[in-house]
Subunit: 407 residues, 2 copies
């Protein structure tokens, strides 16, 4: 058991989710149980708050306030898009020494795990004892080793509910409906759009993800075939779909291919979220090429990760547990690392800790067995994987009444 | 009490909602109680199903199936965008005579009430006894006389939850966030985005609705001022906002002014939903004119009216009641008309029936007392009006912990 007295810092990084606060609260309340942790600080706006020395004293929050925060989406400490380089990490480490920080819990995606890894390496170089633990969080579900990531289940639930509703709406007023779903490299969230399909003709009928090259001809042909079969067609498309590869070997997002738009974020990625252009372009394509009148496209945007009240039950509980386990591993086992979830039953999980370098800056995409050979749909194996993560569907039935013979 | 034996037809028109099936089920089950109603038919896809003689026999649906349908969003009978003219209505009336239809319940907006009115006038001309009752439904909340419309509360709840979530997300990663909300002429739904504001600095900070002319300069100035005050800014904008009036005196939607886009639907209206262009254009405007880096826009689209599981409790119950009351008025009181909801307490309602011609083809917009004098926000009077309709907010609290003094 780690006995070195000192403070703990908890920080949240990257896009907020429905349950990232659960992880923060799980870690904060667990830290408060150990006498060797003298204070629990929360860094305001992730690593940015560390270098700016903007800390809130979570030791002085009421446990009721923290419990309520755990039920609140967003990132209560504030988040950041800063992706620290070596110099930034050195600054973080100097602040840790200054404040006698001995425990660092960073809740985030693979960038956050990389920050933990680099800070930890500075500590080792200087023989400064500190536990650096990465707590997984991402709606993209793209961290390696872990079976799935906290935050994904709730976002997946949003997407599944939105598409199940769109399916009912589209039955009432038939046509083509295209939903653009978040996901730059990994198609998990887009694939989750199928979770509440029930009848053989339920949509989404077609699913396009960044794991496969997008083919305009196939796209139009499949929509045409679905319209002929069902008189309607629902399509889920990842915002990150691509059909070109640039000179450096990178996928060029279809939105850039079609528009030339290329606003980049702090990480040098082309902006995909918070704009509706891809949906509009695909919609125009279908209208013009297939001469279908009723074509509508929605770009789901931020509600996917922050819609108030859309929380997957399993996600909610697991997010809490990974926060709590992070502290337990650090204190009881004195190890650094990244917390992972292992699926051990149908459905049950256990938690484990793996090395930071095995997770840091690595990305997982959908495995082949989750993707239909035609590359325009997902498999039953994926639906089995995602079912417990999205939770139970609200009531959605069909009218069962006979047609009246015409007079 | 109307004793004339004959069949009843129920139809659903216009955009589906979260609770339109409740009204259908309320009417169907109530019809089944009266022996003079020999069969209850449901027309497939609204008036289109009547002229095509596509009926399902709701008398033969199980009551359990109907109860479950009542919990399901969408329009279980199917809907239509057809807006019948006199000839179309004459055709409807001829089918009614052929099938001995003596009760007609049409669930929809003001177009549907107008259809009821015209069909009813043909019946009167020919002394064919039939009860034509319009059952109110619209997420736009734009029917006259009634305090509010079934369907609005659940859509308003969606918008309120989405913005409350966006507010939390925007606190974590500050910037400008623009949400484009459904609403061509009436701003009720956009105004509902404010329902779950709690702290003085909670967003949406600015609300733009079609009841007032949109002024680009004021828009940019108010965003700039909000950014200076709070370091972030959330804006809710109706898709129908306008800044120009055409030669015929009609408002030109801003999306057309900015793009020249003008795809028209069957009613001759310019398409506003199912495209993301307005949000993108406003976002570009803010980026370019105010030089703000992080600007995101979402166009909420169809989930507003069909997101599975987003139902306002009061809306759910009232939708059921208006369906049931429609049948009661027709049978017990032998009157035609449109069912309205009157607010008689805080919060309580009673139901009434008004003449079809007092509702048909009329449109209500937000009254002046709901709109802030600056035309960029709503008043507390509106928030009081909308509060019971959207229901209770899920937990959304703020961390209450002191800042740590810098070392």
């Amino acid at each position: 058991m780690a006995q070195l007295p000192g403070k703990a810092i908890i920080a949240q990084g990257g896009g907020p989710t429905a349950v990232i606060n659960q992880s923060m609260v799980g870690a904060a309340l667990e830290c408060r149980k150990f006498s060797q942790i003298t204070h629990v600080y929360g860094a305001r706006h992730g690593v940015r708050g560390i270098v700016d020395e903007e800390f809130v004293d979570l030791s002085q929050a009421t446990s009721h306030n923290l419990e309520e925060i755990g039920k609140t989406p967003g990132a209560a400490l504030g988040s950041t898009r800063d992706k620290p380089d070596e110099a930034y990490c050195k600054k973080i480490f100097s602040i840790f020494k200054k404040y006698n920080i001995r425990y660092f819990f960073y809740i985030g995606g693979n960038d956050s795990s990389d920050t933990c890894r680099i800070v930890n390496s500075f500590a080792e170089q200087e023989s400064y004892e500190i536990r650096c633990v990465h707590v997984p969080k991402t709606i993209d579900n793209d961290l390696v080793i872990t079976d799935h990531c906290p935050g994904f289940g709730s976002a997946a639930r949003y997407v599944a509910l939105a598409l199940a509703g769109a399916n009912l709406d589209n039955q009432a007023l038939p046509g083509v409906y295209i939903a653009v779903v978040m996901g730059r490299h990994a198609g998990f969230l887009t694939a989750a759009s199928t979770a509440f399909r029930r009848f053989p003709d339920d949509g989404p009928h077609l699913v396009y993800i960044p794991e496969r090259k997008f083919n305009e001809e196939e796209f139009l042909g499949s929509i045409d075939a679905t319209m002929k079969k069902y008189g309607r067609c629902i399509v889920a498309v990842s915002e990150g779909v691509w059909s070109e590869i640039d000179a450096k070997g990178n996928h060029v997002p279809l939105i850039s291919t079609l528009t030339g738009r290329s606003e980049k974020d702090a990480h040098g990625n082309i902006q995909l979220s918070g704009i509706g252009a891809l949906g509009d372009l695909l919609s125009d394509l279908v209208k013009n090429k297939l001469k279908i009148k009723r074509v509508r496209a929605d770009t789901f945007g931020y509600p996917q990760r922050c819609f108030l009240g859309c929380v997957s039950e399993i996600d909610y509980h697991e997010a809490r547990e990974v926060g709590e386990k992070a502290v337990q591993y650090a204190v009881w086992h004195s190890v650094d690392g990244s917390v992972v979830i292992r699926r051990v039953g149908d459905y049950a999980v256990e938690y484990d800790m793996v090395k930071l370098e095995d997770v840091a800056a690595k990305t997982k995409v959908m495995p082949d067995e989750f993707i239909a050979p035609e590359a325009n749909n997902i498999t039953e194996a994926f639906r089995h994987y995602v079912a417990p993560l999205v939770g139970v569907s609200p009531t959605a039935v069909r009218l069962a009444a006979p047609m009246v013979p015409k007079m």
